[in-house]
């Protein structure tokens, strides 16, 4: 009841603000105006929704099948995972918006949307399934081995069932990502139907109510997809948690011999080469015209040996100079705010109780749908870019950090209570150090998202930076530039990820109990 009342007050407030054009000269339309516009557009919504939903669903299925197959392959063959490491990180780091134009010029029909949706779902499903397959209770393994069961028996009786909650958790994250991927691929695809095309077509029309209507529809679709998968997950993962907690795992440390160092280096080099091989292989395999589809070599030539290579490089460098600082600042702001709010949520429980559901819903919000609204509210400057970046990165970061703070063992807090410790002492001595791995994980997970946020804002609104360069190149059919920017965006994103990972390793080595010698 209380929640309903709060919602009603909020809606009434919004209605008032909208009706009297109090914010940014009518950029925030009232709920009634949005609904009325939606009703007027009711005839065009179903085909648009269907056009987005269909490839999203197909991509969701294809991407998840590949992800689950890959997870099983990685679980059985760790060397294979080592080889595909570069590929996995690249897929994780790819800003979908950078891949979209490349797909649009290479693939026919609905395939750009389908492929981008698959790419968007691959990583979360693969990672969480692999975690479930690998991170199993070691004690039942002994039981199975006592009856002569080998690796296959462990897989069959233990791992397959253990990975289900992880898999379902992955699907939950993947569902909204598939819809976002499909919408992003509609950008510049020239497709007539689809929410992305509808949104892009409505941008210049000065009809905020319609833009909000499209954005809210897309958000609703993503939230429904998330909710559906969450429901499925709840049904299947009941009674999954182990009853007792397994004792500390022994980390086997193998001494590094010279031979293992060489094979280590070989593996790393292969891992680096494989994404390029796949890139090259797909283009050759599909026989796409070399004018449109640029191989890694062609991109290299474009950037370093073509007559106007210096010019292209200068344009990209300039764009990087504009985009990177914003991504970095946005990331830092988002992480700080997330940490601050998560910590405050520990002290005032009501805050977490209020923020958590909102964060869970808002992290599924399709970013593209959000950007035009933010631009309407904050204008086309740096502020809008930062706001978009912070919003994309804040919610997942907040959820991860809050989870970390919740894992603090109660006994440790009780111990401090015995000595009459204050809240801030408990926070500094126990809660923050314990949740440090989660803080690091949050930083690593949202680092690529910050670049995506910046690029979307630039593409749709601000008119500078990498996003804009990509959009302009697309408009001018400058294929070399499209591929080069896409490549640079992926490389920067992966570099960003690796940088944060390096920092994480350093921090965890110093502070984590797990790595200290027994």
């Amino acid at each position: 009841m209380k929640a309903l009342l709060r919602l009603a007050i909020l809606l009434a407030l919004w209605e008032g603000l909208g009706d009297f054009h109090l914010i940014a000269q009518g950029a925030l339309p009232s709920p009634s105006a949005i609904i009325m516009q939606w009703w007027q557009d009711r005839a065009v919504y179903p085909p648009h929704i269907w056009a987005t939903l269909q490839p999203a669903l197909l991509g969701f299925i294809i991407g998840n099948c590949i992800a689950v197959a890959a997870a099983f392959a990685f679980a059985l063959l760790p060397t294979f995972e080592g080889l595909m490491r570069g590929f996995n990180i690249a897929i994780f780091g790819i800003p979908p918006i950078a891949l979209a134009p490349v797909l649009v010029i290479t693939l026919p029909g609905d395939w750009p949307q389908i492929v981008l949706a698959s790419v968007s779902v691959y990583f979360p499903t693969m990672v969480m399934t692999l975690l479930g397959l690998r991170d199993i209770d070691p004690r039942p393994i002994d039981v199975i081995r006592c009856y002569g069961g080998g690796e296959f028996a462990v897989l069959r009786w233990l791992r397959v069932r253990s990975c289900v909650p992880g898999l379902l958790g992955g699907l939950r994250v993947a569902a909204p990502a598939a819809i976002l991927g499909a919408i992003l691929a509609e950008f510049g695809s020239g497709a007539r139907w689809g929410l992305g095309s509808f949104l892009l077509g409505s941008l210049g029309r000065g009809n905020p109510a319609r833009i909000w209507g499209i954005g809210l529809t897309a958000t609703l679709m993503a939230a429904l997809a998330y909710g559906l998968c969450a429901l499925l997950g709840r049904r299947f993962s009941a009674s999954m948690a182990a009853v007792t907690i397994a004792g500390g795992k022994t980390i086997s440390k193998t001494a590094k011999t010279a031979a293992s160092r060489v094979s280590h280096l070989l593996l790393a080099l292969s891992a680096l080469a494989i994404p390029f091989l796949i890139w090259w292989g797909i283009l050759k395999g599909f026989g796409v015209s070399p004018v449109i589809a640029k191989t890694p070599l062609a991109v290299w030539q474009y950037l370093f040996s073509a007559p106007d290579a210096a010019e292209s490089r200068a344009a990209i460098l300039q764009a990087l100079k504009e985009s990177l600082p914003l991504a970095g600042i946005g990331l830092v702001i988002a992480l700080s705010v997330a940490l601050l709010l998560a910590v405050m949520g520990m002290i005032w429980r009501a805050l977490t109780a209020m923020l958590m559901p909102a964060a869970l819903i808002l992290q599924t919000m399709p970013l593209v749908a959000l950007t035009p609204m933010i631009v309407l509210l904050f204008g086309r400057g740096i502020t809008a870019t930062l706001v978009v970046t912070v919003i994309v990165t804040f919610f997942p970061a907040f959820i991860t950090i809050a989870q970390g703070l919740a894992t603090v063992p109660k006994a440790s807090l009780d111990l401090l209570d015995v000595y009459g410790a204050s809240r801030s002492q408990k926070l500094l001595m126990v809660s923050l150090p314990t949740s440090l791995p989660y803080l690091c994980a949050a930083a690593r997970l949202v680092a690529p998202a910050s670049l995506l946020g910046v690029m979307i804002a630039e593409w749709l609104a601000t008119g500078y930076g990498l996003g804009n360069l990509l959009n302009t190149a697309r408009g001018e059919l400058d294929y070399g530039m499209i591929w080069a920017v896409a490549f640079v965006a992926v490389a920067v994103s992966v570099g960003f990820y690796q940088l944060v990972k390096l920092l994480e390793d350093q921090v965890l080595r110093r502070y984590s109990a797990a790595s200290s010698a027994a």
Binding site: D142, V143, A153, W157, T244
Partner: protein, 265 residues
Amino acid sequence: MDGSAAKLPTDDINISGVTRTFAVGSRQVYALRDVSLRCDAGSFTALIGPSGCGKSTLLRSIAGLELPDAGSVLIGGQTPQQKCRLGALGVAFQDSALLPWRSVRQNIALPLQVLRRNTAGARDKIDALIDLVGLKGFENARPSQLSGGMRQRVAIARTLVTDPSVLLMDEPFGALDQILRRSMNIELQRIWMENRATTLLVTHGIDEALFLADRVVVMHRDPGRIAHIVDIPFARPRSPPLFSAPEFHALEDEIAAYLYGGATS
């Protein structure tokens, strides 16, 4: 249970010169050095000793979960790995190691499935085992719905489902409270007397070892080795009053002396 349980074939265990080392940092630690022990078919042996004396490693070597660096383990003349595949071993750990998504009945059936045996035909047998460990009515309960002691009973029923000739138990009641432990000791004796499998029990409790075993093997650490073997003369079935008998206390003191040093041979 029917009388056939008592006729089960049992195997002896022959451990000779087993050595197992672990690398801790740059140092080599002997978890076991040149350990030899013979357990007659149908005997009950308890292994006792301080943490790190290698008693769990010894048990895991017999179960085929660890490979010794030197020496050999033979069960009824065969290697542990050969015996594993025949379902001749039943192993219980300190933790029940139940699969949380399976019911009691399904958990007990797991060894049969791993061995690719017919589980449908074993239903009566599984229900009889559930009855044997006193869990009638909980056939379809999941581990999360059971108490610690009940979960451990399920684990023991699971070790019996293949009619093993050898039972290996690694502190199976270590996580239970003293009262529950006593009652589980009494039950284990009853179950063992019905099956008479060759049994090896690793424990920290001198009273538990004395109450259950024919022989108590005292181990020392650094390097892990057998320090002394004490024969336990009490007649079976042993009953709870034994715990407070003077001769029980005398043996308890004797073993404690071997354990805490001074009287080592």
